[in-house]
């Protein structure tokens, strides 16, 4: 059914592009945050300025994570709308496998994550020339792994959210606090022990560590534990989602 997967992915991509607000939200806002935030913090988005006593805030990483969060919020919302409208149920009555139906949405989100990353790079070259000294291939791979891991958590959220109206608020209520304790704004060592313990179980924390590592050049080998944690979280959440996912 590979043909079905490509067709569905392509259709969902086109459908997504036809909704201006969704496209602006997932592609435009991260770039705006990146450029404005980078300007406010200095000409170097990679963290020339410090936030209070803490470590420099890397606007490029923040913007990348907002791309990931946007992808997940959008997925939770789309899945719950499709469930409410009977679209999931209708697709399930076709020969498409359940995995293909949901996999197409994952592919679309990863596609837009890469597109968002591309826009970020273009903006970086335009507004902060010389500041983006990073292996973009490696950085994008880390972002994709992070997005995939957080998307699997998104499927768990999409499974438990009662109605489509609650999808966005619930997703935001889970994802933004995750971002606040991820170590991006305040280093993990400065967080209370209990918060730090929770943070280590969240995908966002490992995403931040991995992407910071790749940004400062220490690479995958120095952060294999973070990468592995993202894979484990992906496995656990996907497994959980297959058990609790509701098609209608």
């Amino acid at each position: 059914m590979l043909n079905g997967l490509w067709k569905l992915t392509w259709v969902e991509t086109k459908v997504f592009l036809r909704e201006p607000m969704g496209v602006i939200g997932t592609l435009g806002i991260p770039v705006v945050i990146f450029v404005i935030g980078g300007r406010l913090l200095g000409t170097n988005p990679a963290g020339a300025a410090a936030v209070g006593e803490a470590a420099p805030l890397n606007m490029a990483i923040l913007a990348s994570l907002i791309i990931a969060v946007g992808a997940v919020l959008s997925l939770v919302s789309i899945i719950s709308i499709y469930r409410e409208g009977g679209i999931l149920k209708r697709l399930r009555a076709t020969p498409l496998s359940p995995l293909t139906i949901l996999g197409a949405h994952v592919l679309v989100k990863l596609l837009f994550t890469v597109a968002g990353m591309g826009l970020l790079v273009l903006a970086g070259r335009r507004f902060f020339p010389g500041a983006m000294q990073v292996n973009l291939f490696s950085f994008t791979a880390a972002l994709l792994l992070s997005t995939l891991s957080i998307l699997s958590l998104g499927f768990v959220l999409a499974s438990i959210v009662p109605t489509a109206r609650f999808a966005q608020p619930l997703g935001a209520a889970v994802l933004y606090p995750m971002l606040s304790v991820s170590g991006l704004f305040v280093p993990l060592e400065q967080l209370p022990a209990a918060v730090r313990f929770v943070a280590h179980g969240l995908p966002m924390t490992h995403a931040v560590a991995l992407m910071q590592g790749i940004w400062d050049g220490s690479g995958w080998s120095a952060h294999w534990a973070n990468a592995a944690a993202l894979v484990v979280i992906f496995g656990v959440c996907s497994g959980l989602a297959t058990r609790v996912f509701r098609w209608e």
Binding site: K14, V15, G85
Partner: protein, 285 residues
């Protein structure tokens, strides 16, 4: 008679403590339009979705085209077409994209353009789903149900919420589907629709099939009484009776009596009357 297309025996399905389907047994024969009729909440949709393999029955056996809907789900989906109650598609999917996507999912498909033309949707090829009228949406769902030339097509409350013209257009399409040899299994709570379309119906209430047969047979069995209403000398007379000769006899009597008749009509009971009689209440919308 050839083997039934659908056989359901002692189907039972509950959700938590709610019994949706208590005891349903029925047979659908090749090439007929079979209607499962009853009020909302009677168990029509659950029964249909168990037959489609979308729900797992708690008890009972189901066979569709000789296949087990649970065990042989993949094989069955290539051979049946479905339309769900109150279904939607992606708001911004175009009509042709939906048909094109569905075409890619089946091993054997009809010409999508010819199908859209047949369903009167050719001018809407490039329209977004959200811009279609209720009748156009339902016709698109019929198209998606027919794209792979299924042997059986399931239609759940297809005309609910449509205006009379759109409803009649859909009835013509359903009759056309049957004329091409496809078996149709439909649910409706509209008795007029069932009477017009269905070769046979099963009346379901509280999860049980309480009666099954052709609409005409059901009327003859349960509501045999006919009325003749005629006007003469400025007053209206109503006569009630049963039997094949009743109306003829009345006509002969009137003719013999020599009165001048200014108006004459007969009233026959309908499926709705049968339903009222069997359940003690009318169908609820």
């Amino acid at each position: 008679m050839t083997a039934p297309v659908i056989e359901v025996a002692n189907l039972r399905k509950r959700y938590g403590s709610t019994v949706a389907v208590d005891d349903v047994s029925l047979e659908v024969h090749p090439g007929e339009i079979f209607g499962l009729i009853g009020p909302n909440g009677a168990g029509k949709t659950t029964t249909m979705e168990c037959i489609q393999g979308l729900r797992k029955p708690d008890h009972g056996t189901i066979s569709v085209l000789g296949l087990d809907p649970q065990r042989d789900a993949t094989a069955l989906r290539q051979r049946i077409g479905v339309q769900h109650q109150e279904a939607h598609l992606q708001k911004r999917i175009k009509v042709w994209e939906a048909v094109d996507l569905w075409s890619a999912l089946y091993s054997r498909v009809v010409d999508p353009d010819a199908l859209l033309t047949r369903l009167g949707l050719e001018s809407k090829r490039n329209a977004w789903f959200m811009t279609l009228s209720g009748g156009q949406k339902q016709r698109l769902f019929i198209a998606l149900a027919l794209i792979h030339e299924p042997e059986v097509v399931f239609l759940d409350e297809l005309t609910t919420g449509l205006d009379p013209q759109a409803r009649r257009a859909i009835w013509t399409l359903i009759a056309d589907i049957r004329a091409r040899g496809t078996t149709v299994f439909l649910t409706t709570h509209l008795m007029e629709e069932a009477e017009r379309l269905c070769d046979r119906v099963a009346i379901i209430e509280h999860g049980r099939v309480i009666e099954m047969g052709t609409p005409a047979d059901l009327v003859r069995t349960h509501c045999p009484e006919q009325s003749v209403i005629y006007t003469s000398d400025g007053s209206t007379h109503t006569l009630r009776g049963e039997g094949d000769d009743f109306v003829t006899n009345v006509i002969n009597d009137i003719a013999r009596s020599g009165v001048r008749v200014r108006g004459f009509r007969t009233e026959s009971p309908t499926l709705e009357d049968v339903f009222l009689k069997l359940t003690g209440h009318g169908i609820r919308d």
